[in-house]
Amino acid sequence: MSDTVIRIRNLHKRFGDLHVVKGVDLEVKRGERIAIIGASGSGKSTILRCLNFMEMPSDGTIELDGKLLGTEGRANDGGAARTYSESELCEVRTRVGMVFQQFNLFPHMTVLENVMEGLITVKRTPKGAARSRATEQLAKVGLQDKLHAYPGKLSGGQQQRVAIARALAMDPEVLLFDEPTSSLDPELVGEVLRVIHALAEEGRTMLLVTHELGFAYHFADRVVFIADGIVYETGTADDVLKHPTKERTQAFLARFTERAF
């Protein structure tokens, strides 16, 4: 098995006439933790969402475990978008999990059912095994006593932890986090960050889009600064966050007054 889990080459994304991602190359090593930072609207979420095909890339290629995904597209609209079958995408998404800013839990299912759902419908795990695996994951995020609660009855921090357990249950090779704490009340941020930190300790491969620079500093092996849809500067957390060399990175970081790292 190769050392590189994901390799992105020349990724582009257009929404109609709006060119949002403009040629991103990125390599994610197994066990690596990458923090993606940048100004609002710079394309961070879009890049992340292309990695599990929540958005379809307009151009470029993505390799997962050395395997090039999709097949060459028919260049009917002049674009170079590759085509992907639904079954391939579903398979990829079980291997590249995602946690959203808005949790996106299923409100009509209990916490336990939320976490079991992917195991049962996608992985066809027998119910008993799914239940014990889901319970395990929920214990890991500290919610073993909320198994039968409905998401609507939980705090934002608890809901986000359920969402993390739901993603973990699929046993993904890579986990994507898109601003997992941005919609939380400040006092609930800590509990979610602690869970993410514990996953980092386990050696999971993770990409995290965040505005919490202090957390990014401690979390990340590598920080990627995005500006205008390109990787503008990248390096270790120290390189990018403490000693940025490029002008826009410096300008961006200067806006964060309390440097918590």
Partner: protein, 221 residues
């Protein structure tokens, strides 16, 4: 007003009314069950981004919602056989038109429900590898059914009422039997009052449950 009620005529006509009631219920269940399923299929076409699916679905829904049910019934009995090249029995014509009519209304209810479910629900399911079909079945539909339950019950109530129009095609359902009996016995007051009461007993529990349900759902959110 001097009127002597003849209760014996009610007892005498009861077996026939009961038989009519059975036909009414058959018509109702048939049109509602198939109308719901067909309506779901139409709503899928309706929310599709493909024009060749979407446009006919809109046409279908709008035609049935913007013409009188009575016209539809009569059209399917007298006009449709010409297109078809074969005669339809009154029951078949009535069942067909009521089913299609119900499906058009249900399609709109389903569509409203589906578009009201936040995009995040699709994304949450997608992110754990669920296909569109799985997501529809396990995540979207259960929420739509719950949210739209009052609207579906109202549709069921409305349908129970309009089955009485089938009497005009001589379908031997409750209303038809009532009219027949009242002209046989010359006792419209007794018989038609009983007919109305039977409809009430049939429909009221549905209305009552629907109203309670609506209040419960409203209280929950």
């Amino acid at each position: 007003m001097e009127y002597t009620w003849d209760f014996k005529v009610i007892l005498d006509s009861f077996p026939l009314l009961l038989r009519g009631l059975v036909v009414t219920i058959e018509l109702w269940i048939l049109a509602f069950a198939i109308g719901l399923s067909l309506g779901f299929a139409v709503s899928l076409a309706r929310v599709s981004s493909r024009g060749w699916l979407n446009a006919p679905a809109i046409g279908y829904v709008e035609i049935f919602r913007n013409t009188p049910v009575l016209v539809q019934l009569i059209w399917f009995y007298y006009a449709f056989p010409i297109v078809l090249g074969a005669q339809l029995s009154p029951f078949t014509a009535a069942a067909l038109s009521l089913t299609l009519n119900t499906s058009a209304y249900c399609a709109e209810i389903f569509r409203g429900g589906i578009v009201s479910i936040a995009r995040g629900q699709w994304e949450g399911a997608k992110a754990i590898g669920m296909t569109r079909a799985m997501t529809m079945r396990r995540v979207i539909l259960p929420q739509v059914l719950k949210r739209m339950l009052p609207a579906f019950t109202n549709r069921g109530i409305e349908l129970a009422k309009v089955t009485s129009l089938a009497s005009l095609l001589a379908v031997n359902e409750l209303m038809y039997q009532g009219r027949l009996l009242s002209s046989t016995y010359y006792r419209p007051l007794e018989i038609l009052t009983v007919v109305a009461l039977v409809y009430f007993v049939l429909i009221y529990p549905g209305s009552y449950l629907s109203a309670r349900l609506e209040r419960r759902l409203a209280a929950r959110d």
